[in-house]
């Protein structure tokens, strides 16, 4: 890492008043890290470890937990609702991440090549500033079969009214696309920021060589944007797997289990059906799946190396 930095960044200028690294540095560093570390330990690490412990018990919230070994995990593998939840979550992630990434890239390119107006940039993140629950409630009304505005438009255009959230074939796609709408502006902003690091002269050189916008996008923008793309994908996929609020507000897992995503299933098991141990086992499994997924992505997309040298 340090080697490549040496090549790609301007030569280091020695600090004016050279303060050598002293033995005290790590101590100071740890002092600065302490508050964050404390929060991490108390609010993340300890509960996570406790969560893993709960997954080996039959805790039902109300009575004392009893150690049951791997029973929860065994039940989970045999539970077709669990597999259904994973499948639906995957479906959601594919639709959501797929549409969101493509649209965000398109918006970012448009912003980069056409306008750099701060106003446009601000406007584009507005949906992201609206709380998820609000978006869910607003769309619940807008997409309603009887009183919804969207169906009114469809009607004017001569289409059949759709029930969106109420139809088991459409519900998960509806939820995914609603969240795409909410998140794409923010994702576009991340891509846009990444694009600012690409040297302008590369585009000039490409233009001199006779490349059109599409070729420039494919040959210059995309490859040089890769580290940013990896970051965006990793963060948004993890976020996407955590889909919960829209489901909880609009469909509650229905109709006919069509939107019972894994997070909602975990919540139901833990707090509606009092199987905290079982819910913890599923949460632990999801944790492992996400770590594996992230590692694979980082590897496949060579996240830590850049083509920009």
């Amino acid at each position: 890492m340090t080697l490549t930095v040496g090549r790609s960044s301007p030569p280091k200028i020695a600090p004016a008043r050279g303060r050598r690294r002293t033995a005290g540095d790590p101590v100071v560093a740890w002092l600065f890290l302490l508050p964050a570390l404390l929060g991490f330990t108390v609010f993340y690490l300890a509960p996570t470890i406790r969560g893993f412990w709960i997954s080996f018990t039959d805790w039902n919230l109300l009575s004392e937990p009893r150690f049951v070994g791997l029973d929860n995990y065994r039940d989970m593998l045999a539970d077709d609702k669990f597999w259904n939840a994973l499948r639906i979550t995957a479906e959601y992630v594919v639709i959501n991440i797929g549409s969101q990434t493509v649209l965000a890239l398109a918006i970012a390119v448009l912003m980069d090549r056409l306008t750099r107006s701060v106003l446009v940039r601000a406007a584009i993140v507005i949906p992201w500033l609206v709380p998820n629950v609000t978006v869910a409630i607003v769309t619940l009304f807008m997409l309603d079969h009887n009183v919804g505005f969207v169906n009114h438009i469809l009607d004017v255009l001569g289409f059949e009214p759709q029930s969106f959230y109420g139809d088991s074939d459409q519900a998960i796609a509806t939820i995914a696309l609603v969240n795409t709408w909410r998140n794409m502006g923010y994702t576009a902003l991340l891509f846009f920021a990444g694009m600012q690091m690409i040297p302008r002269n590369l585009y000039e050189a490409a233009a001199v060589d006779g490349a059109g916008e599409w070729t420039m996008f494919r040959r210059v923008t995309l490859p040089l944007l890769r580290p940013v793309t990896v970051l965006v994908l990793v963060v948004s996929i993890i976020g996407s797997f955590q889909i919960f609020d829209t489901v909880a507000v609009t469909t509650k897992g229905g109709p006919a289990d069509a939107t019972r995503v894994i997070y909602y299933y975990i919540y139901q098991k833990a707090f509606n059906e009092f199987h905290m141990g079982y819910a913890a086992a599923m949460a632990a499994t999801l944790f492992v799946i996400l770590i594996a997924l992230t590692a694979t992505q980082m590897r496949l997309l060579r996240a830590s190396s850049s083509d920009l040298r």
Partner: protein
């Protein structure tokens, strides 16, 4: 990832740590009980009871209200953290789980000591709250099902409202109820469901509304049909261990229901929307729907449409409704069990239930108070005999099925009912499969 459940968990643990602060010594002097309920419509009535109770006993009662959706999560987490209300309004779908986990106080010793008269309550309501000789509540109210219909729609169809008092139903041809919903269904061209040229793809008003949900019981949705054929949910109630969902009578009834959906007489699931029965009935998308007595106020108070009530149709085995009731339960962690019992006893007494009757929001459990409530309705010009007559006839009553793991069973069943409403499955097959799944849960 683990974040959300775990964060909640951490919160619960933190609350548990704070919840154990010591009582001040003078607390014995002036006790304040907390009492929780979910129905905002009932809050004023029980506030009145609480005031009357404080006036006689000197015990303060603080009432907390949370909507049904949040109520049970709130109760559960507060039980875990030791901050639960002293007395909670309880539902039969939830109390078995709470009782099994020793979260509720057995009030049988108090009932014996104070010689509470249990015969004054409607039907067998009192015995719903007994498990293994322990009693977990005194009945406070009851509810039954009847038909709600749009008065103008019935007049427009040239049907004499008096005939609605004697509807019949059977799964073969639907009886006069089947005829009625056909007649009440009107398409965009004004053709009725029983006329030639009726277009089921362009229905303006459906004869029969559809409420989503209902789980394994289908209390307002469909319960009255199979029950009127002699179907019983459980091998024994309360605390059966075998749901009879593979009963051919249930399949027959549900199949008939699905057939009416296919024929275009029932509001389709896709059009029902997630906003509930009210918009559907107020915008006259449906002319008739079975509903519970707890929503009498909604329909009687409607300004957009005029609604009235009719008794459920008579099936092959007579007229059957589910009857259910709520009760106050004392949480096991209460620091004032004696005072909490006094409050529970007061809720279950004529002193409180007569006050509730005057408000006419629910039917109090005590028979005389229920009659007073019906009278309050009549004074307002609302005829609720469709709900009260059936409650007076023990042969017509089927008690709400009570088992453990009710939430889990409802989730399983709801998925199947959804599929039936979406016309995606054959009811007989789907119910048989559901029967095995439910048996697995109760195993």
């Amino acid at each position: 990832m683990m974040r959300k459940p775990i964060a909640l968990l951490a919160l619960a643990v933190a609350i548990a740590a704070c919840g154990t602060s010591a009582e001040t010594p003078e607390a014995a002097e002036k006790v304040t009980l907390t009492y929780s309920l979910w129905d905002p419509n009932q809050l004023p009535a029980y506030q009145e009871c609480a005031d009357a109770f404080t006036a006689t006993s000197g015990i303060q009662v603080k009432i907390t209200q949370q909507g049904w959706e949040d109520y049970w999560n709130g109760i559960t987490t507060s039980l875990v953290s030791g901050t639960a209300p002293d007395v909670i309004t309880n539902h039969v779908a939830y109390y078995p789980e709470l009782a099994a986990n020793n979260q509720l106080l057995d009030i049988q010793p108090f009932v014996d000591r104070d010689k509470v008269d249990l015969t004054r309550y409607t039907g067998d309501l009192a015995s719903l709250w007994v498990r293994d000789g322990k009693r977990y509540g005194l009945p406070q109210d009851w509810d039954t099902i009847a038909l709600v219909y749009n008065v103008k729609d019935v007049e427009d169809a040239k049907i004499d409202p008096a005939t609605l008092k004697d509807l019949t139903w059977n799964p073969a041809d639907g009886g006069t109820f089947g005829e009625l919903i056909k007649k009440l269904t009107v398409d965009a061209n004004g053709k009725r469901g029983d006329e030639a040229g009726f277009d089921k793809t362009k229905v303006a008003t459906y004869g029969w509304g559809l409420e989503q949900g209902g789980g394994v019981v289908g209390q307002t949705q469909w319960s009255w049909m199979p029950l009127s054929m002699g179907f019983q949910y459980l091998d024994k109630n309360p605390f059966g261990t075998d749901y009879k969902l593979d009963d051919p009578r249930l399949a027959e009834a549900i199949t008939w229901w699905q057939d009416q959906m296919k024929a275009g007489y029932v509001l389709p699931r896709e059009e029902a929307g997630r906003l509930g029965l009210e918009p559907m009935m107020q915008t006259n998308k449906a002319a008739l729907v079975p509903d519970g007595s707890w929503r009498i106020g909604t329909w009687a108070g409607s300004t957009e449409q005029k609604f009235a009530f009719a008794p459920l149709p008579r099936g092959p085995q007579g007229r059957k409704t589910i009857i259910n009731g709520l009760a106050p339960s004392i949480t096991a962690g209460t620091k004032h069990p004696d005072q909490a019992w006094e409050w529970v006893k007061f809720i279950g007494s004529p002193a409180c239930q007569d006050l509730v009757a005057k408000r006419a929001v629910v039917f109090p459990a005590i028979t005389t108070a229920a009659a007073a409530a019906a009278e309050s309705h009549r004074a307002k010009g609302v005829d609720v005999s469709a709900f009260t007559d059936i409650a007076a006839d023990p042969a017509s009553l089927s008690y709400y099925p009570i088992t453990g793991s009710a939430n889990e069973i409802n989730t399983e069943a709801q998925a199947v009912i959804d599929q039936i409403q979406e016309l995606k499955v054959v009811p007989a097959d789907a119910l048989k499969e559901l029967d095995t799944r439910v048996a697995d849960i109760l195993k």
